[in-house]
């Protein structure tokens, strides 16, 4: 997946790097501390200049009264050096601690924000991509916040202050030093003329290389079997070649001015100019030696103050994309919460003329869906893939909000309930099970931290999970999750069912809850589901039609519309879409691959 933009997975366009001003807003939460760090850095730099001044004074004193110790000037130099050193360390520490604090704050903000955005957003972007933003991108800010802020302050303040000091020392030398800098920067601006465009081209070319690498690595099993790498490797090589072309063009266009400005902004040319001009002025006796010395000590630092920043620039540039991604996530709109909430009265679910589209540009995913589910009844949603049945299931917990119409739970529009209330009404079991790292018991009592061990094991028992849990080395205290024990898909699913049983909410939404179980687990799983569904309002999405034959109501979807409603027998008799699906289902069930054995009958492919 693209690592540049979040939302559009396939049509990845590079997020424009924010202007510097935007980038700085990311530091708002620690703005105060950053300001302190920058102030400390500037003070340190000013004291550094003062040290140079005292050194010039030392020489002046020595020239005026040879043989006497220039105590006061030397003491001044010592004090300024030590204070400058301490202030620099303080600035460095302050900006680093601020950067660490910022990481914590941003990650907390992001985690809170993700708890409030539509789940649909999280699905569209992908959990992995969001985790990358929360960890990697936030971490990438470090160089920008911790290292470059003091340097920034110094890069702007020092040349300005230096120039003022130089003016008071000797205006001619001040102008000469400034002229060298102006020449350097003038040429540099020339070099940066097409920078935005080049950066864009560069990032695009780089992104293509990235995609080709991902293709190459992820698809390697396919690549090796099907083209021994020729076509894919060709794509990778093409991407590399384009990248090389962009780079070569960049060097050709900006190469000379870039090198030239680097050569001029080196402190040495400034030093040379100040030496020539100063020597001439001193020779003409229009400049005292000590004053010239002060200019030489201070003046060359102008360019130097900027060099570390330029050296850091590529690292800072790298963070711009991270900042853009963080800001993109933080600006994803949250689900609106009602000001005054209404409480549901029973365990019914009703859709009233619900229409839904995923984005402004997309077609209707659902149109004009109306149905009612009585408390305690079982409703099955079926239909070909893409018909909208999973969307219906996901609208109930507000993965998204409807585009038109409304969804009522217990007689109340889901948008008029707080998320808390809605979640206390509805439990979900999805096909991808989630176990976090922690004990099995904690996983079952997720969201109900006060539930006692008895309740937990009772729920596990009903979910057909108790026996296998007890057979584990530490029973309910066994650690599971990514860093824990390996459990099979069916076992994990039964733990999530135990969780739903413990939560005991009146309405239950099942989305393909048995999809990934292997044969033996599946038997235990269906028993567990039967326990879970006891006396609940159940809305289940199923591909395997056998599991829903006895539902109180079957809703058949096609192309985002509700096309048939009824019980199994009624629908079969109608010989419509459900009847067709059922026939296909039976056919798929009976599919058998055949070897050479004579008794095996090759199923005849239907001619189209």
């Amino acid at each position: 997946m693209s690592n540049l933009t979040l939302t559009e997975k396939s049509t990845a366009k590079i997020a424009p790097a924010p202007a510097d001003a935007d980038a700085w807003t990311i530091m708002d939460p620690v703005r105060g501390r950053i300001r302190i760090a920058m102030t400390l850095a500037v003070s340190s730099a000013v004291l550094g200049l003062a040290t140079m001044g005292f050194l010039a004074l030392t020489v002046r004193d020595l020239l005026e009264s040879p043989g006497a110790w220039p105590w006061s000037a030397m003491l001044g130099a010592l004090i300024c050096t030590v204070s400058a050193y301490l202030l620099r360390l303080a600035a460095f520490n302050e900006s680093h601690f601020a950067a660490f604090r910022l990481e914590t704050l941003l990650r907390s903000d992001l985690s809170r924000h993700l708890a409030q955005v539509p789940m649909g957003y999280i699905q569209a972007v992908g959990a992995g991509a969001l985790a990358k933003v929360m960890h990697d991108d936030v971490k990438a800010l470090h160089v920008f916040v911790a290292d470059s802020t003091p340097l920034h302050a110094r890069a702007y303040a020092v040349p300005a202050i230096t120039f003022l000091v130089l003016l008071t020392l000797d205006w001619r030398l001040a102008l000469a030093a400034a002229a060298v800098l102006a020449l350097g920067f003038g040429v540099m601006i020339l070099a940066m003329r097409n920078r935005a465009e080049m950066v864009q081209l560069y990032n695009e070319a780089r992104e293509r290389v990235g995609t080709a690498v991902v293709d190459f690595v992820q698809a390697m099993p396919v690549v090796r079997t099907f083209d021994s790498g020729t076509a894919t490797f060709g794509r990778y090589r093409n991407a590399l070649r384009e990248y090389l072309e962009v780079l070569t063009r960049w060097y050709r266009e900006a190469g000379f001015p870039m090198r030239f400005s680097m050569a001029v902004l080196n402190p040495m040319p400034t030093l040379a100019v100040l030496l020539w001009l100063g020597a001439w002025l001193t020779w003409r006796d229009s400049l005292p030696f000590a004053q010239w010395l002060a200019v030489l000590l201070i003046g060359t630092g102008m360019a130097e103050a900027m060099m570390p920043l330029i050296a850091l620039k590529h690292l800072v540039d790298k963070t711009q994309l991270s900042i853009a991604r963080i800001q993109e996530v933080l600006s994803a709109p949250v689900l609106p919460e009602p000001d005054r909430e209404r409480m549901p009265t029973d365990a019914s679910v009703r859709f009233e003329s619900v229409g839904f589209r995923y984005g402004e540009m997309d077609g209707d995913a659902l149109s004009d869906i109306s149905f009612a589910v009585a408390p305690g009844s079982v409703v099955a949603l079926v239909g070909p893939s893409g018909a909208g049945k999973s969307t219906v299931a996901k609208l109930i917990p507000r993965f998204w909000d409807v585009s038109t119409g409304r969804i009522l739970v217990g007689g109340v529009d889901v948008r008029e309930m707080s998320t808390e209330t809605l979640m206390s009404q509805v439990a979900f079991v999805f096909q991808d099970t989630f176990l976090f790292s922690g004990s099995i018991a904690d996983n079952i009592r997720l969201g109900l931290p006060d539930a006692g061990m008895d309740a937990v094991s009772a729920a596990a028992g009903a979910a057909q999970a108790h026996d296998f849990i007890m057979s584990l080395p530490q029973g309910y205290d066994t650690q599971v999750g990514e860093r824990g024990l390996f459990l099979s898909g069916g076992q994990r699913q039964r733990i999530t069912i135990a969780r739903a049983i413990l939560q005991d909410r009146p309405i239950l939404v099942l989305d393909e809850a048995t999809a990934y179980a292997d044969p033996e687990n599946e038997a235990a799983l269906v028993t567990a589901l039967s326990e879970l569904m006891r006396s609940k309002t159940v809305i289940m999405v199923a591909h395997r039609l056998a599991t829903i034959r006895d539902a109180d109501q079957i809703l058949v979807f096609e192309h985002g519309r509700l096309v048939e409603t009824g019980r199994h027998e009624t629908l079969l008799a109608r010989a419509g879409i459900y009847a067709r699906l059922w026939r296909k289902y039976e056919q798929a069930q009976d599919w058998a691959l055949c070897g050479r054995h004579p008794t095996c009958e090759q199923p005849q492919p239907e001619s189209r």
């Binding site: 997975k9 396939s10 010039a56 030392t58 020489v59 020595l62 006497a68 030397m74 520490n93 680093h96 601690f97 660490f100 604090r101 914590t104 990650r107 907390s108 409030q116 789940m119 985790a131 293709d215 992820q218 099993p221 021994s228 794509r235 090589r237 070649r241 090389l244 050569a263 040495m268 040379a272 030496l275 001193t282 030696f289 010395l293 050296a311 590529h314 070909p384 893939s385 998320t419 979640m423 989630f434 790292s437 997720l446 969201g447 999750g481 099979s488 044969p519 269906v526 028993t527 039967s530 569904m533 395997r544 829903i548 539902a551 109180d552 296909k584 056919q587 599919w591 691959l593 070897g595």
Partner: protein
């Protein structure tokens, strides 16, 4: 996550780094060496230019002769111009495009290595890690190294050259400078292990937080449904605070040595200046020389105090070079000579034992079986029992530690890799389609196939109807609409690919597991067309699918526990029979009647 990337940077000597740099430069190594030498010379010449300020000041101070002043000004300027020219020359490597060419070649070499290295080793690595390696690390390796090396040379060689030149003017000053500046290198060496230690604990803390975050984002549907997200995700927030604490500790530990290094430099400079003043006061040093030393030393302090910052970037470069070399060093799987070509396609596993590199226990233990040519063999067993591993060993993603795999009596290690690949078609559960046209995605299996042949394969795989519906038909790019193809449609494209390849051995790895009913039927028909007259190996959970197989291998825990035909295995009443009964029971499940005993 970057645990693997950041953990314990091994401390390489600068000499070794230099060699690695040259190796990475490949054909351009000589040119790179010239550049580096030019950079070193530039730093030295710059030091001499600075040193010439001393006689310049002396001649101004005595002010007897404008000729002397001019001479020294001209010498200094020439030296500075020479330093600039040398540096300019060194930068040619970058600006004339050689650097980009080196990176290009390196990336191409890395790409070729990806094709050659054992697939198992490749799959060990995370995709993100590989992208980082081929993109970021290759850039880090050279792009910044010239700049950083220049800065380090200016910080080290320039003061050294100046100090040596000063020896001629005043040996005390020269010696003092010589004593102070080289100290920084051992100081840096001393600081570095401490830095690495902290980096490791920091990397561990980051790895932990990264895992916590991934768990959080992946678990958000469940966490929110359980009302345990956001503010209530206590573990997560505690983890953030803990990370910040470790960051602060590690910062203090590394800021300490850094502070000492730059402190030592500053104190050293002050000491030199103080002794200079003392010599002037006692009349043994000309004040003009002291003034010149002030100007020179002022030039040194900045590069020296930022030296530490540059060296940490050097570490980045070192780590990148090492990762690149490590990847390039992975050998391809060994080939048995002379190569042989099987004349039939019976597959045989002979006492195969195989353990994955990262695993503690073997995935296959002493596994022996024969899979008949032009027959259907089914692999059955719980997830993780080793079925997929068998298929991978046949395709030589890795070689078994013991025993061997043979096709038509020939050890697969003696079959040329491209011939082996040509012999086997695979239909995976997860389909991978490339960001290219539908046509290219199918044709990749046999680039020389005619349009008619591609179309025939697509027809047999039941692809024509949906290809006709795509906005640009055959020429629709799948990258743009990949998500709009259903799972079944994607699977059929991959089957068309396999049909076009027409390989004698076909592996089906749960090809219909993730499909809905309607797609499933279409995919099943496509598969029926694919497996005719082939040696077929199928991995399937639904036992009814494989009941007609010529041979069923029941695998458990990496071992072959039963084998035979469906009716034979049923009669034996073993593992297979148990699974079969369980599946029949599930089929009879009636959820509307919640109390039904499914195990009846």
């Amino acid at each position: 996550m970057s645990a693997a990337l950041e953990s314990t940077p091994r401390i390489t000597s600068w000499r070794e780094t230099y060699r690695q740099l040259l190796r990475a430069a490949g054909a351009h190594a000589a040119s790179l060496r010239t550049s580096l030498i030019a950079l070193a010379l530039a730093a030295v010449v710059q030091g001499l230019a600075l040193a010439s300020i001393v006689p310049l000041f002396s001649s101004i101070q005595t002010a007897t002769n404008t000729g002397d002043i001019l001479t020294w000004l001209v010498i200094m300027t020439l030296l500075m111009v020479l330093a600039t020219l040398l540096r300019w020359r060194a930068q040619n490597f970058e600006f004339n495009g050689e650097l980009a060419a080196v990176n290009h070649t390196l990336r191409t070499r890395l790409g070729e290595q990806l094709r050659r290295m054992p697939l198992e080793r490749l799959q060990d690595k995370r995709t993100g890690e590989m992208t980082e390696l081929l993109l970021g690390n290759v850039d880090e390796n050279l792009n910044y190294s010239l700049m950083i090396i220049d800065l380090i040379m200016v910080a080290v060689l320039t003061p050294l050259a100046t100090a040596l030149a000063l020896l001629a003017v005043d040996w005390r000053l020269g010696l003092a400078l010589l004593l102070i500046f080289p100290i920084i290198v051992p100081l840096y060496r001393w600081r570095r292990p401490a830095f690495s230690r902290d980096k490791r604990s920091l990397a561990e803390a980051h790895a932990g937080t990264s895992a916590d975050i991934l768990e959080y984002t992946q678990g958000l549907p469940a966490l929110r449904a359980s009302r345990a997200a956001g503010e209530k995700a206590e573990r997560l927030h505690t983890g953030f605070e803990e990370l910040e604490r470790i960051q602060a500790v590690s910062h203090r530990k590394s800021a300490g040595p850094n502070g000492v290094v730059s402190g030592v430099v500053e104190v050293g400079l002050l000491l030199i200046l103080a002794s200079g003043v003392a010599w002037v006061v006692s009349g043994t040093l000309n004040v003009a020389v002291l003034a010149a030393v002030f100007v020179i030393v002022a030039r040194f302090s900045e590069p020296l105090s930022t030296f530490v910052m540059y060296t940490s970037m050097l570490e980045l470069i070192e780590a990148a070079l090492e990762r690149i070399e490590a990847l390039l060093a992975i050998p391809p799987l060994p080939q048995i000579e002379p190569c042989a070509r099987p004349d039939h396609h019976e597959v045989h596993f002979e006492h195969v034992t195989f353990r994955y590199a990262q695993a503690d226990t073997p995935s296959l233990r002493d596994f022996s079986a024969t899979l008949p040519a032009r027959g259907l063999t089914a692999l059955v067993g719980p997830s993780g029992s080793g079925k997929t591993t068998l298929a991978r060993l046949l395709m030589r993603h890795a070689d078994p530690q013991e025993g061997y795999v043979a096709i038509g009596g020939v050890d697969v290690r003696a079959i040329r890799p491209d011939e082996l690949n040509a012999m086997i078609s695979v239909v995976f559960q997860d389909v991978y389609l490339f960001d290219d046209t539908v046509l290219a995605n199918i044709r990749m299996a046999r680039p020389e196939a005619t349009d008619t042949e591609v179309e025939a394969a697509a027809r047999a795989a039941h692809c024509l109807d949906f290809i006709g519906r795509l906005p640009m038909g055959w020429h629709t790019r799948l990258g743009d609409i990949g998500s709009r193809l259903s799972g079944g449609e994607r699977q059929r494209v991959s089957i068309a690919r396999a049909l076009l390849k027409d390989a004698p051995i076909v592996i089906l790895d749960e090809p219909t597991a993730a499909l809905d009913t309607e797609s499933e039927v279409a995919v099943q028909r496509a598969i029926d067309a694919l497996v005719r007259d082939k040696t077929v190996i199928v991995i399937a959970h639904r036992l009814s699918t494989i009941a007609g197989a010529d041979r069923i291998l029941v695998i458990e825990d990496g071992r072959l526990v039963e084998q035979g035909r469906h009716d034979e295995l049923l009669a034996r009443a073993g593992r297979y029979r148990a699974s079969w009964d369980a599946q029949l029971a599930v089929k009879a499940w009636r959820p509307g009647t919640a109390d039904a005993d499914v195990r009846a």
